[in-house]
């Protein structure tokens, strides 16, 4: 791809922003600066993807790349606690709130953290925990052509660092809220979450990306998950961005031997959301599960791109992605399972199920398998359809009216994914959103 033909302004604008940041000594003297610089150079060289790129064929991002984005003012904007109340997920070990990328101290708390677990702002950890961060931060993602992950690495200011030491079990979830608000100028943020779970550790983390009001925002996020031997990590990403917001998120996971990582991604709002996932099963016996649910309307678009690499033998990976598309919404799914030649006895499954509620909704689904080992089990399946009319009749023949019957089926379709969420208040809230979207009558 060339930068000459597409959105040079925006690319140059990011380059200029970076130069301005480099005038600050603290920025250039950090151990992380060389990584930033390399990422930016890589980004400038390649620019933003266009629909000519295979991985972006169905997702046109011109709306995002033709806008001039600026970072928020230095101080966190204060937002009312009430505005965030609806996103609460019940009892938590810690809450971190960022508003337009800036840490909001008054809205955050780490009261419930114990057992040697570290949960702190990434901005602080970059200095104070550099030795712990170095093996992970910027090391997990391997795909070099991900413009948005590169931008995040170049510009990341803050986010959350979670460290769960050997054998520690965090019994309550950590909640991270990245909120975007309406600003005078289109505002970009580059939040980053790094979660390191050591041997046999267990933790549950929820990242909520929320739009407050009609935020004209661009969120470029990276989430890095390093799951140590025997560790068990539950990660949730909830996207409820504003109706005119762009979200480009990348999740990278490393799984060591016998570890488990379950990441559930629910998208219910936002103008355009792209989720990139890269997962590397590096030790024998690892198991990663990626669940996804998109519930879209109007002209919303959600694009889930996954790349699961089986590096070690005897690993399992599961991808279950579902979408409910109303209005003129558009879903894209591309899941690639890549099995290295040593990764014998791989067991990998990928399914993508789409429910189209309107004639104008669109779905593009692309499964890809690349297998270099000869003793593996890899399956994929995609279904795209309307509500099963036989099932509607069955329910009606038992006394449910047509709306109730249809709603029950859509709800059930969504619920198969939501049931995987073990945090009751979170699951119940998402269920309520689904129910609220269904036609009344």
């Amino acid at each position: 791809m060339s930068t000459a033909t597409q959105s040079p302004t925006c690319v140059e604008e990011f380059a200029a922003q970076f130069e301005r940041l480099e005038k600050n000594d603290a920025f250039t003297q950090s151990w992380f600066h060389p990584l930033r610089k390399a990422a930016l150079a890589n980004f400038v060289e390649n620019g933003f993807p266009t629909t000519k790129d295979e991985d972006w064929r169905f997702t046109n991002i011109r709306g995002a790349t033709s806008t001039e984005w600026a970072a928020a003012a230095d101080d966190a904007k204060s937002i009312a606690k009430d505005a965030l109340a609806q996103y609460c997920i019940g009892e938590v070990a810690a809450t971190f709130v960022f508003v337009d990328g800036r840490y909001a101290d008054a809205l955050s708390s780490t009261d419930g953290v114990s057992n040697g677990v570290v949960v702190k702002r990434l901005a602080d950890a970059l200095d104070s925990d550099s030795a712990q961060l170095k093996p992970y931060l910027g090391q997990i993602l391997k795909q070099k052509n991900n413009a948005f992950a590169l931008l995040n690495t170049a510009f990341v200011e803050d986010g959350v660092y979670v460290f769960v030491p050997k054998n520690a079990v965090l019994d309550k979830p950590i909640h991270i809220v990245y909120a975007s608000t309406a600003n005078d100028r289109p505002t970009v943020s580059h939040p980053r979450t790094l979660i390191v779970a050591e041997d046999n550790a267990q933790a549950s983390v929820v990242e909520s990306f929320v739009g407050i009001g009609s935020a004209n925002s661009l969120t470029i996020s990276v989430t890095e998950l390093a799951v140590g031997p025997g560790a068990n990590l539950f990660h949730h990403k909830i996207v409820e961005e504003a109706l005119n917001a762009y979200h480009f998120g990348t999740i990278g996971a490393w799984l060591d031997r016998d570890s488990r990582c379950t990441s559930t991604n629910v998208c219910v709002d936002g103008k355009l959301t792209r989720n990139n996932v890269e997962s590397y099963l590096k030790g024998e016996g690892g198991c990663c599960t990626f669940n996804g649910l998109s519930m879209l309307r109007d002209e919303q678009l959600v694009d889930n791109h996954l790349r699961i690499e089986h590096v070690a033998p005897h690993c399992e990976s599961w991808q279950y992605f579902k979408g409910i598309y109303d209005g003129a919404s558009h879903g894209v799914f591309a899941g690639r399972i890549y099995v290295h030649d040593d990764a014998q006895k791989t067991d990998a499954k990928q399914t993508n199920q789409s429910l189209l509620l309107s004639d104008k909704a669109q779905i593009d689904s692309k499964p890809q398998l690349e297998i270099f080992a000869d003793d593996v089990k890899c399956t994929h399946g995609a279904t795209i359809g309307q509500i099963d009319e036989e099932a509607v009749f069955y329910l009606r023949a038992r006394g449910l009216n047509e709306t109730a019957a249809r709603n029950m089926l859509v709800h059930a379709f969504a619920n198969e994914t939501l049931e995987q969420i073990a945090i009751d208040p979170l699951r119940e809230r998402l269920e309520a959103i689904v129910l609220d979207r269904l036609p009344k009558g």
């Binding site: 036989e390 009606r396 038992r398 006394g399 449910l400 009216n401 047509e402 089926l409 059930a412």
Partner: protein, 257 residues
């Protein structure tokens, strides 16, 4: 007044006439069996009565409890007491039997101006009825019919029937695919529900079911018409002589007239 009065009912599907003038009167308390070879229109009749919209009614009328049945939506018919036990019960991923059945029970109660059943009362009811057809109550918390054996699906139908307590129950080949033990269990469930207020239409291909659910009347359906009616002995005769015997009889009768 009869509970159900079918008069000269004609139904098409995709341009083919399947029902060609059905006449049938069913009174409360009666069990009618409708027998016939494949393709005779048995299942179509059952589905038309339940309100499946794949069929176009071209002629005739159906009066149920004094009301025009064909004018009602399927859910309205259900709320008014019509129940169809499906030949092929539908699998519904993500919806448990208990969840949807409680919604169905409450839809019916609401229709009749009664208070909704709460979860406790509902579970009580369900427990009792599940035992009736020896349905493992664990199945009721699983997705409707998903991963159920053929026998479990059919028992689930009869279980739902007993919970919904219909006035007119239509059993569409409830015996197909059942082994003899399952058949006995299902028949026991059905027999328990027999009563003076309730009528049943038992659609079957085989006489075997009628050893266990003994009908008051047997009707033979042939090419969309009821060509012969009789008592329970007719089923035995059919079993012994086959459906071809009915054809012969009709021919002879036609020649004689």
């Amino acid at each position: 007044m009869a509970l159900l009065e079918i008069r000269n009912l004609h139904a098409h599907v995709e341009g083919n006439e399947i029902l060609r003038g059905i006449n049938l009167t069913v009174n409360a308390g009666e069990v009618h069996s409708i027998m016939g070879p494949n393709g005779s229109g048995k299942s179509t009749l059952a589905q038309v009565l339940a309100g499946k919209d794949a069929y176009e009614i071209t002629e005739g009328e159906v009066i149920y409890n004094g009301k025009d049945l064909l004018d009602m939506e399927p859910d309205e018919r259900a709320c008014e007491g019509v129940f169809l036990a499906f030949q092929y019960p539908v699998e519904i991923p993500g919806v448990s039997t208990n969840y949807f059945l409680r919604a169905a029970v409450n839809a019916k109660r609401k229709h009749h101006g009664q208070d909704e059943l709460d979860a406790v009362d509902f579970l009580e009811l369900v427990k009792e009825k599940a035992a009736l057809v020896e349905l493992d109550s664990k199945l009721l918390n699983r997705a409707v019919n998903e991963g159920f054996s053929g026998g479990e699906k059919k028992r689930n139908e009869i279980f739902q029937m007993s919970v919904l307590d219909p006035t007119l129950a239509i059993l569409d080949e409830t015996d197909s695919g059942l082994d003899i033990d399952a058949l006995k269990t299902v028949a026991h469930g059905v027999n328990t529900l027999r009563g003076p207020e309730r009528a049943m239409i038992v659609v079957t291909h085989y006489q075997r079911l009628l050893d266990y659910i003994v009908p008051d009347f047997v009707h033979v359906l042939r090419e969309g018409r009821i060509v012969k009616s009789g008592g329970k002995e007719l089923a035995l005769e059919l079993e012994a002589k086959g459906y071809a015997w009915v054809d012969e009889e009709i021919k002879t009768a036609a020649a004689a007239s």
